[in-house]
């Protein structure tokens, strides 16, 4: 048993979980073509959830601040992107791929820009006064979430809004009897790019070094003369921008968004962060992929169970590893 676990650890340890999940699902589903479709859908969903969750996890790891209002950035990102896409409807409808892509890039960029501004505002106005006081942090960020949901309702109204996708992301690739939606591939690639970017930023740059040091021991970094509060704002802004990006991508994925979107995604994001372990990017990615895959597999195998499955998964993992799979904060 000891030897087995060591061998497993050498081959990747908990990172093997998604593969194990995929193999089990393959046996249970039986049909390879639906399995491929479901796996791609799960990976795409996982990557979008990763975009939303990474910021929350990083902010907690570095600042010991849990932002219950994080999902507000997700919904604002979705609505801003939807509005920009609607405004550029002419570009979307044209046959030119360049105009299409330009509209998409503008929509995503405006969501990110909004995330940056809103994140900066949120951090300096709402959260700064309540550092180190968890109770008041939870209450205040919850209050901010209520207010921002109401603002969304006031601006965009309560009716669902249709999101227009660019022409070149519609449709699907067909390989034999397997069909893969283009948008899912796009979401997966974008998420992977962001993950690699974050990974490089954290592990290969000086700023990343400081951030990781701050997660380990904040006071030591401060006493060495670094302005860790500026890093805080930077990380918070980055996190909210990523959340807005994730929301924008999600809007294009579901194509019909309501103001309840943020609250729905928040639950998934929390489960991902808890499963992955707070504070680490790898853990968040792992949690997001596991949740994405399980949601899609269970949704196919036992639709009634699909919503409870995430919760059961979280309970099981918490029993096994009370701090999540790959926590950065001890």
């Amino acid at each position: 048993m000891e030897q087995l676990s060591q061998t497993l650890e050498r081959f990747g340890g908990v990172y093997l979980l998604p593969f194990a999940l995929a193999v089990v699902a393959f046996i249970m589903i039986g049909a390879p073509s639906s399995w491929v479709t479901l796996t791609v859908a799960g990976l795409a969903m996982g990557m979008m959830v990763f975009l939303m969750a990474s910021g929350l996890s990083l902010v907690f790891g570095l600042m010991d601040v849990l932002n219950f209002g994080h999902s507000a950035f997700v919904s604002f990102g979705a609505f801003v992107a939807a509005s920009v896409l609607a405004a550029l409807g002419g570009w979307l409808g044209s046959d030119s791929v360049i105009l299409n892509a330009l509209a998409l890039i503008l929509a995503l960029l405006s969501a990110v820009a909004f995330g940056v501004v809103a994140g900066w505002f949120f951090e300096s106005v709402i959260i700064k006064p309540v550092y180190k006081d968890h109770l008041r942090q939870i209450l205040i960020t919850m209050g901010a979430l209520i207010v921002s949901e109401q603002v969304i309702l006031a601006i965009w109204g309560g009716t669902p809004i249709t999101v227009h996708r660019p022409q070149f992301l519609e449709g699907a690739f067909i390989f034999g009897d397997v069909s893969i939606e283009v948008y899912r591939v796009f979401a997966f690639v974008l998420g992977l790019a962001v993950f690699i970017g974050l990974h490089v930023l954290l592990n290969r740059t000086r700023i990343g070094l400081l951030i990781r040091a701050g997660v380990e021991n904040r006071e030591m970094v401060e006493s060495l003369g670094f302005r860790i509060d500026r890093l805080f704002i930077g990380v918070f802004v980055l996190g909210s921008a990523l959340a807005a990006l994730g929301g924008a991508m999600w809007a294009g994925y579901v194509t019909l968004i309501t103001p309840a979107l943020g609250a729905e995604m928040m639950i998934v994001v929390f489960i991902v962060v808890i499963i992955g372990g707070l504070g680490s990017i790898q853990g968040t990615l792992l949690g997001a992929i596991i949740v994405g895959l399980t949601a899609n597999y269970i949704g196919y195998l036992a639709p009634k169970l699909s919503l409870a499955s995430n919760m059961l998964l979280m309970m099981a993992i918490l029993m096994w590893r009370p701090n999540g799979l790959r926590p950065a904060v001890k």
Partner: protein, 357 residues
């Protein structure tokens, strides 16, 4: 308590007396249907908020699953009344079953997650509550889905029931109010919530309450002195879950209807949070003040906001924000400001008024 009462504390006690008297005589003081509705809702929410205050204010645990337990009690009674027909044994059975479910789930959540950080606990309860909400609307053969369940309550509470009859066989009127089943239902709500509230009040002044406050102030120290913090936290979580569940049963009997909107929705959780913070965390009196103010605001502030929206109709965006449906926006703002500037809430701030140093 040997400390001398402050001027503010006296004021708070006086307000409590007025509220208690108003609730006791509510059916005679305010003789329209809506007012009785408001008074019953206030009674229910006072206990719900007080049991939540035991968690957040006394022990320092933030849970977002309080409506879940409230819902268990309500749905327990509702399903039992629907299946077994109107009768006291259905209410009893449903209430007890709902409470047992609440206890089991609270114990499970508590043991799994109360040993980790407060923040983890908050997230887990939030996730659990939302899953239960979704389940309630999906398992429609038991819960009636989004539509909820309507059912009959014991005969005593029917408006046609005559509590006292005069010689002619007519319902006796007292101060112009006919003593029918509606009055009986209101006093059922009033008395059961009063008992639960007094129970909670008794717990907070017992040695147990002191231990809970010690855990809130410094859990490491409490552990070092020899109190088993996890056991105490789990116990108080179960206790408040049981009380919430019982109140849920009472509410279900009063409303004669149970659905996601009235018993489980996240809006109720937000209401409870607002009431606790506005009234003041860490005092049972705060729960009373918070519940009274907020329920009154819910019923009467919206009318005011509608009028205000008319006035500013020419300004962009403002009428949208003053729309009666947007009242949570203003409450949210007030909530944030209160947490910043008056973390003790109305009652907590008043209590220390007039104290020396």
């Amino acid at each position: 308590m040997t400390r001398k009462m402050t001027f503010g504390a006296l004021g708070v006690k006086a307000v409590m007396l007025i509220i208690a008297a108003a609730l006791l005589f509510a059916p005679f003081l305010f003789q329209d249907v809506r007012s009785i509705e408001v008074a019953a809702r206030i009674c229910i929410f006072i206990v719900l908020v007080a049991s939540y205050d035991l968690l957040i204010g006394y022990t320092g645990i933030v849970s977002f699953a309080h409506t879940m337990f409230f819902g268990f009690g309500a749905y327990g009674a509702a399903i039992a009344l629907k299946e077994m027909g109107p009768g006291w044994n259905a209410v009893l059975l449903g209430g007890v079953l709902g409470m047992l479910v609440s206890l089991v789930i609270a114990a499970a959540i508590g043991l799994v997650s109360l040993r980790v950080k407060a923040i983890f606990f908050a997230m887990i309860t939030l996730a659990a509550a939302s899953v239960v909400l979704v389940l309630a609307s999906q398992l429609s053969q038991f819960t009636g889905g989004e539509d909820g369940i309507t059912y009959k309550v014991p005969d005593l509470f029917k408006p046609a029931t005559k509590l006292l009859v005069d010689d002619a066989g007519k319902v006796v009127k007292l101060f112009g109010v006919s003593l029918n089943g509606k009055i009986a239902a209101y006093y059922f709500v009033f008395l059961s919530t009063l008992v639960l509230f007094l129970l909670l009040l008794r717990i907070t002044v017992s040695p147990l309450g002191t231990v809970l406050e010690a855990i809130r102030e410094n859990d490491v120290r409490a552990e070092a002195i020899g109190y088993r913090v996890v056991a105490y936290r789990t116990f108080v979580f179960c206790l408040s879950a049981a009380v919430a569940s019982l109140v849920g049963t009472v509410y279900a009997v009063w409303l004669k209807y149970t659905g996601p909107e009235t018993a489980l929705s996240f809006d109720i959780m937000i209401d409870i949070l607002l009431m606790v913070v506005i009234g003041g965390m860490g005092t049972m009196w705060g729960a009373v003040v918070g519940a009274v103010l907020l329920v009154l605001a819910q019923y009467y502030l919206r009318d005011l906001m509608g009028a205000a929206a008319e006035v500013v109709s020419s300004v962009p965006l403002l009428p949208e924000l003053l729309n009666p449906d947007r009242w949570l926006f203003w409450l949210g703002l007030i909530f944030i400001l209160l947490v910043y500037f008056f973390p003790k809430g109305i009652v907590g701030t008043l209590m220390t008024k007039g104290a020396r140093g």
